[in-house]
Amino acid sequence: MIAAIAAILQSATPLIYVALGGMIAARAGIWNLGLEGLMIAGACAAVVGTKQSGSAGVGVMCAIVVCVLGSALLWFAIEKLRAHPVIAGLGISGLGLGGTDLAIQAMYGNEGSVHAPRSLPQLGAAAGDFAGCSVLVVAMPFVVAALWVLLRRTRFGLQLSACGEHPFAARSVGIDPVRMRLVALAIGGVLCAFGGTELALGRLQIFSTGMTAGRGYMAFAAVVFGAMDPIGTAGAAAFFSLVEYLGIKGQLVFGNAAPPELVLSLPYIATVLGVWISSRLRGGAAALSELRDY
């Protein structure tokens, strides 16, 4: 049981970080569909940085720089060029997927994957079932708690939420929603960098093209499912990982009676059900198209 929790925690952590990044942006009024691209860019930068420097710390810094720059680009397209947030987000996702592919080929030839010489620092054998959990897994609950405090108990967090919920009201008390969204996206970029880093350097120490496999989009769904609340979002992301874990376990029990494709599609089906339930509970997530002030 404890081992199962540890396994789910490990596989959920990348998703949770990225979902938290999307949650912050959503609170400020930007539905960030670029999470997929930011996540894979973070994973790629972390592995490349680690490989070039030999230090995982440098890898994390590279991931943060790349993800914050990508978020700033999305902010520029949405707020300065007034592009549609959903489409511009898909563009960022495409740039991340294609850009990492191109970067890997430009740097290392046609391998399609890169190994990192070292991983993130991990818990030792003394941690029992939790041995092998990286520092980012350990930090995750604290990050969730910190974000909850930030958003619910600080002036900055409330101003941020005001920019998403009622930009006009925010402006009337002297807050600049456009600038707040840049800050929110930048924080989100850092969280996406953590998610990508954990995905690539947590257990695997490898980057391969397309390795996020839609996790960024699932993270986005977790934001909606989790009602833009830090704890709710993290819980939704953990739930998606739980479904994936149970699917794989079910595969071991039932063998080929359950086709592997069905098992693999369970998280996506759970996502649809989750979004559907949350829309029924909250009388429609018309938010996506009607939230914005233009």
Binding site: K80, L81, A83, G94, G99, A106, Y268, V275, G284, L288
Partner: protein
């Protein structure tokens, strides 16, 4: 500049900006960008048979984009064209396999109808969820894509598995030769005729029917349309059904035309490309013809680049993504705007 031409000029300007940005990125990544773009133009139009490849990709892009365009016009962000395309292809493939011995004159329309039905059904459930529960269609259609990819993988490795082949990609049994609408080149009179007829019908639907006009109004101002007594739920379901049906038709045509069999993960970027075509054309049917040839050319070039010119195909993905990022932009960057007003 006239009000009608301004959005077109703006879209073209943003495409140009995206291409220049890509050129800079390619140069920084160590690829000669002039050579890269020359290779893309060559792969799209100049190389032998390049035009055929371009038209081969332009046709499914055009048909799928027509569906995306109808949904977008009505204000629904159906970005699940890829999944609807796959489900259409799966339905068509199952029908073609079951009826492989029948007379082609009867079976081909049935297969196409199955494709249309499959695609429409895969768009129906996000539409119903949207209308009945207000569930956001961006997420449901996006998740539908991933489920459809797995469904195709299941069908090609399970029920329709081709036992003879030993390729790395799971492939279904090939469609009977009599049912094929084209050779693997993908361009034939029958497919061209179907595409042109569908294009004409969709132009009529969008521009000349109550559904098309009301739908476009609903997309711009849903509240007003409801107040005027139009049934917005019906328009929404119609938008989703048309959208899925066209993607499904494209899937069936892909099966009976160039592909000849279901392959796991075939034409993986078609749905995304169709969204781009619809947006670049400004949601206009006539402009979509030109836009689909442009993106068809890029698709043809993405197969040409790595094989002949030795450039990574990811370059095309980056160009597509860069255009996506800015194509919906409604403002000029302030620096550009200042220069424009200074010069005027």
């Amino acid at each position: 500049m006239s009000a009608r031409l301004f959005p077109v000029a703006r879209a073209l300007a943003y495409v140009a900006i995206a291409l220049v940005a890509c050129a800079i990125v390619f140069q920084l990544a160590g690829y000669p960008s002039a050579g890269m773009f020359a290779a893309i133009v060559e792969g799209a139009f100049l190389a032998p048979h390049a035009i055929v490849h371009t038209i081969r990709w332009a046709m499914p892009l055009f048909v799928t984009a027509l569906g995306v365009l109808v949904a977008f016009r009505c204000g629904y962000f159906n970005i699940g064209a890829q999944g609807q395309f796959y489900l259409g292809a799966i339905a068509a493939g199952l029908t073609a396999d079951a009826l492989h011995a029948g007379p082609p004159v009867l079976v081909i329309p049935l297969v196409l109808a199955a494709g249309i039905a499959g695609g429409a059904l895969w768009a129906l459930w996000p539409g119903l969820l949207r209308v009945l529960s207000g569930t956001d269609e961006v997420i449901t259609t996006l998740m539908g894509n991933f489920i459809a990819i797995l469904a195709l993988a299941y069908v090609t490795s399970g029920p329709l598995k081709d036992g003879s082949g030993s390729g790395e990609v799971a492939a279904a049994r090939p469609v009977a030769d009599g049912l094929r609408l084209s050779t693997s080149s993908g361009v034939s009179l029958s497919i061209l005729a179907i595409v042109i007829v569908v294009g004409g019908l969709m132009w009529l639907l969008v521009d000349r029917t109550a559904f098309g006009v009301l739908g476009s109004l609903a997309g711009r101002n849903p509240v007003m349309v409801v107040w005027q007594g139009a049934r917005s739920g019906r328009i929404a379901i119609g938008a989703f059904l048309f959208s899925g049906a066209l993607a499904g038709l494209a899937g069936a045509l892909e099966l009976l035309g160039p592909s000849g069999r279901l392959l796991s993960g075939f034409a993986p970027t078609l749905g995304f490309g169709a969204v781009l075509v619809a947006l670049v054309s400004g949601l206009s049917v006539s402009a979509a013809t030109v836009a689909s040839v442009f993106f068809g050319g890029l698709a043809a070039a993405s197969l040409y680049l790595p094989v002949i010119a030795g450039f990574p195909a990811a370059a095309i993905d980056i160009i597509n993504a860069a255009i996506t990022l800015v194509i919906t932009a409604r403002a000029w960057p302030s620096a550009l705007r200042r220069r424009a007003s200074a010069s005027s």
